[in-house]
């Protein structure tokens, strides 16, 4: 629950929402906790909210490490698993 993952901002929407991509999966998240964000930025994403902007290098290295440790897969599995319960 305390792990944040780096995600790439693809598109901004009204109400400080954005489409982001991590590990090839896209999701709608909130960027309302950040001062300024534009498509192409990497953000640290935690429970659906971008907490912080990170550099491209930091994001890429972290994603690589998380993929190797299996953490990225765990996080993406949670995205998939919870989606169905929201629409139940």
């Amino acid at each position: 629950m305390c792990l944040a993952i780096p995600a790439l901002v693809l598109e901004l929407h009204p109400d400080a929402m954005a489409t982001v991509s991590a590990g090839g999966v896209t999701r709608q998240v909130s960027v309302g906790l950040l001062e300024e964000v534009v498509p192409g930025d990497y953000v640290l994403l935690h429970v659906g909210f971008a907490l912080h902007k990170v550099s491209v290098e930091e994001a890429e290295e972290t994603l690589k490490m998380m993929a190797q440790a299996g953490l990225l897969q765990e996080e993406l599995a949670e995205w998939a698993e919870t989606g169905s319960e929201v629409r139940a």
Binding site: M1, C2, V47, G48, L51, V54, Q68, T82, E85, V86
Partner: protein, 386 residues
Amino acid sequence: MKYVSEFRDPALAQSLARAIAREARPDRTYAFMEFCGGHTHAIFRYGVQDLVPGNVRFIHGPGCPVCVLPMRRLDDALELAERHGVILATYGDMMRVPGSGRRSMLTARGAGADIRMVYSTLDALEIARANPTRQVVFMGIGFETTTPASAMAILAARREGLRNFSVFCNHVLTPPAMVHVLEAPDIDPAQAVRLDGFLGPSHVSTVIGARAYRPLVARYGKPMVIAGFEPLDVMQSVLMLIRQVNEGRAEVENQYARVVTEEGNLRAQAMMDEVFVLRDSFEWRGLGSVPLSARAIAPAFAEFDAETRFAISEKQSRETKSCECPAILRGVKSPKDCKLFGRACTPETPLGACMVSSEGSCAAYYTYRRAETMAQMDRAQMEAAE
């Protein structure tokens, strides 16, 4: 160094390991608490303990949100779902945590309660919008990483006039828990754990900033290094802690400066301050009652407070007998000191929260060190029998 090849930069890992071995003085021990359960897992997954000398020890801290939530609060949440008939939305980590009478959100759901796992408070809001005739309660839990998400949800609910959404608030704060760990020896010598410094949490610190730790480091004279969660970050932070100890310094240092700033996320802090107030005290599993360590929803947002909206009954919740979770969370005991570990209590049949959460110490020992831990338990049992 069997794990070093898995590091992002094996050469750097080896040179850090050599520097730690060179600089750790053999005539003393170093006990560092990694507060955050994420660090506990990085340490185990990458065998960091094996890469440092035996006199450098990690004490696992209470930074696992579902582990420190007392059973009473989980029982209250189950009551909301079962007796008040709400849709209870919760992060997945909570689903298997045992409540009183070995019930859990998962078993309650099996018995008909409407409990839904969500990834985000955004999902909980979506459920509330889609079910205007039902009350939806979000189980708010976690440290300063998840608290802004609950604040944002409450602000959005007010903006939208969403009258069927509320939060059952169990959010806790990191610095007061660290203070409590440091003060425990004075409160009760049986709770004493000797610490030489802290590895500060990664992502909590992106929100509260390095400055949040300065008062407690100044007051208690214990070094603090805010550490990234990669194993190389942890090793470098350990080296920084050893240097502080050897030089007699006690400062807040920021190894994770590529992400954590001095002041943190000011916007998130402002939202938390607007939506929440500090509780006078809050019960933590293991730590007991900790002053000013948790948030409640501010009176101005009372209509979104599940504790105001629903009459939750008084109840006697009892922690699972012989579960050592409380002492493990204080850093006084290790999972091998619990006779349930790996026998009655496994990730499939958890009796205590520390075995359920992926951030719990028992889950880390079980996943990465099960055979070794159980062999140690057998040896201790045989010695006790002799």
